[in-house]
Amino acid sequence: MNKKTFSLGVFSILLGIVMLIMSNGIRDFAAVGVGAKFFPRIAASGFIIIGALLAFQQRAVVSQLFSSAGSQDVKEDKGDMVAVWLTMGLLAIYLFLVPRLGYILSTLIYIFGQTLILNRGEKQHYLRFAIIALISASATYLLFVKVFRVMIPAGIFG
């Protein structure tokens, strides 16, 4: 019924195994009680058990579904994954630019780009969005830097 849950189970098992192997490199230093590798190992075992249960649960359900004639995979509404990839890419570029160009310039570019992505399918008002991006980037900068005295990367203006 749910391939995602099955994959999650497999991922959990793999994660547990990797953690278990990596925990061997931790030095314990414990003369009394438990050391630094105790909890990572408990967690790793937990991942393996939970993963096995998740995978087993789904295996049973999936096999039942296959055995009943006419059963169909439940298709979920996937929405627009391209927009998600674009948002992730834009955010990564934004974070890359913040220390280089500074907060105001990079935020201006980000807000403008993100608004266009979120507004896809509707009429794009480029000038209006650019003005909004400029005002909000400058206003948040002034509010946080001048009023709240929070440190923000200054970039090329620094």
């Binding site: 019924m1 995602k4 999650l8 959990s12 953690m19 990596m22 931790i26 414990a30 009394v32 009680g33 438990v34 050391g35 630094a36 590798k37 909890f39 990572p40 967690a43 937990g46 991942f47 939970i50 993963g51 249960l53 998740l54 649960q57 359900v61 039942q64 059963s71 929405g79 627009d80 994954m81 927009a83 998600v84 674009l86 948002t87 992730m88 955010l91 990564a92 934004y94 974070l95 913040v98 907060y103 935020t107 980000y110 807000i111 993100q114 608004t115 992505i117 979120l118 507004n119 399918g121 509707e122 909000s136 948040t140 946080f144 709240f148 005295r149 929070v150 440190m151 923000i152 990367p153």
Partner: protein, 499 residues
């Protein structure tokens, strides 16, 4: 100490911060998709440069305003601004459609205020008593409480306990990164120097709750714009007779809200649903529920605001967050070097009573600003999400950067944002991750300390009276949760076979 606490808040600057926090909280709460949790997380870094009283007062204003603000969009847009105002839509929106939007808003605002004040009184009288008991706690008891709190995962897990446990374990595992407690040996740092101090809670929180939401909205696209319903209001919009007819309903809902709020992990949404259900069962006119019943609206709004004081009881007395937002408030205490728990009442009594006063003021400001500034909030509901969300995200960057003034935390925020989005896609709840992240270090440190005291014996954890009782209750809850999960699984299987 009480008077000192009250006086600490009564400066123009602090009062202004509480007022500003409350207004901003109402804004965050009223705009659907932007939650109070996100609001409190965003403003945490700003409190760095403030005194603990100022910083925590601002956060309390945000918390109270945000919890109540959800009623505006629930009534005028039929969209709950926060999960806690879901039941408000059931009767608030039908009232608005019948031309009684003003009355619905008036009732919602006044009973939100009364619910908040009721729970605050409970917090004021109960928490010092709980703190006195908790003063005798040592490593054994703290470990037991940490483990007990992990059982709350079952209440936060949604449909699947296993996925909830996976999420909690993932959160727990993130706390292994960095120096190990007691021995300070670096673990899972992969040679990255920035990881030596471990992952900070705040970027993780902003990522999980704000950035993940942006990805979600990007995927779904911005929904068609819903215009708020026009309203007019005279006085508070309702008569004294209508007000007094709700006194029993109010009292019952306030007790339910505060009581459930005290139980860690349940939150305002459950309080509101339970109070709404009980009000319907007790009502002489249950058929009006869902059609614009005053009783339903009052029950929902009283209970969700009554949960605020309740959720602060375990936070302030035991250091255990009552819900998502109080988990962030816990971080708010920590960044000022204050550890909530029984010693808070001993060492920082003035701060405790200052917080109580700030909460009282925030409730009053909430009443005034929601009533007086209603038109402004309605105007903000008109701002399209495609413009609001990118601005909120740029604030997230400021918030994450402000933690340690380094880009590493901002990248951590992005990582947790992607993780939160992927978890949503795999139907893995993110709140247990947060719980694991917060409780992990407490459990590990206290177990290791306790074992050092007991010369490596686990028996002392069960023979110490308080920790023994807590651990026994924990085992019973775990067994019950497993039993319930197996029962649900069998029921699901039967349904699948029928199909």
């Amino acid at each position: 100490m009480i008077i000192e606490g009250i006086l600490a808040v009564l400066s123009a600057k602090t009062i202004l911060l509480i007022f500003g926090g409350t207004v901003l909280g109402i804004l965050f709460g009223s705009v659907p998709g932007i939650t109070v949790t996100m609001g409190v997380a965003l403003f945490l870094p700003i409190t760095f440069n403030m005194t603990p009283v100022d910083g925590l007062s601002l956060l309390m204003g945000l918390y109270i305003g945000g919890t109540s603000g959800g009623l505006i969009s629930a009534i005028l847009l039929n969209i709950p601004g926060t999960p806690a105002s879901i039941c408000t839509t059931f009767d608030g929106a039908p009232m608005a459609r019948k031309g009684q939007a003003g009355k619905a808003l008036g009732l919602g605002i006044v009973f939100s205020f009364l619910g908040g004040i009721f729970s605050l009184l409970v917090l004021y009288f109960i928490s010092p008593m709980v703190a006195r008991v908790a003063l005798s706690f040592a490593s054994f008891e703290y470990f037991a409480i940490g483990i007990f709190s992990l059982t709350l995962v079952s209440t936060m897990s949604g449909k699947s306990l296993l996925k909830g446990l996976f999420s909690a374990l993932l959160g727990f595992s993130f706390t292994f990164i960095g120096m190990a407690p007691i021995t300070s040996f670096p673990r899972f740092t992969f040679g990255i120097r920035d990881l030596n101090a471990g992952l900070n809670l705040l970027p993780a929180l902003i990522g999980l709750f704000a950035v993940a939401q942006l990805f979600e909205e990007s995927q779904q696209g911005v929904a068609e714009k819903v215009e708020p319903i026009e309203y007019s209001i005279k006085g508070f919009g309702f008569s004294l007779k209508e007000f007094f007819s709700q006194k029993m309903n109010f009292l019952r809902s306030a007790v339910i809200g505060t009581g459930i709020g005290i139980l860690p992990g349940l939150g305002g949404a459950i309080c509101s649903v339970v109070a709404y259900g009980v009000a319907k069962n007790r009502s002489k006119t249950p058929e009006l529920f869902g059609q614009g019943s005053i009783e339903g609206l009052v029950a929902s709004e009283t209970a969700n605001n009554a949960s605020t004081g309740g959720a602060l009881v375990p936070l302030m007395t035991l250091g255990i967050p009552g819900d998502n937002t109080t988990a962030i408030l816990l971080a708010g205490f920590m960044i000022h070097g204050i550890t909530p728990g029984p010693l808070l009442f001993e060492n920082n009594g003035v701060l405790v009573y200052a917080i109580f006063t700030a909460l009282m003021l925030a409730n009053i400001f909430m009443l005034i600003s929601e009533y007086g500034g209603m038109r402004l909030f309605v105007k903000i509901l008109n701002v399209p999400k495609q413009i609001l969300l990118p601005i909120v995200l740029s604030l997230c960057v400021i918030g994450a950067y402000g933690v340690n003034n380094r880009m590493f935390d901002v990248w951590t925020m992005l990582f947790f944002g992607i993780l939160g989005f992927v978890m949503k896609k795999f139907e893995v709840p993110s709140t247990p991750l947060l719980l694991g992240f917060i409780l992990g270090p407490i459990i590990e440190t206290e177990l290791r300390r306790g074992l050092m005291r007991s010369q490596g014996s686990f028996v002392r954890f069960f023979t110490e009276p308080i920790s023994g009782v807590i651990l026994t209750i924990t085992i019973i809850i775990v067994l019950f949760s497993v039993y319930k999960e197996i029962k649900n699984m069998i029921a699901r299987r039967r349904e699948t076979t029928k199909l």
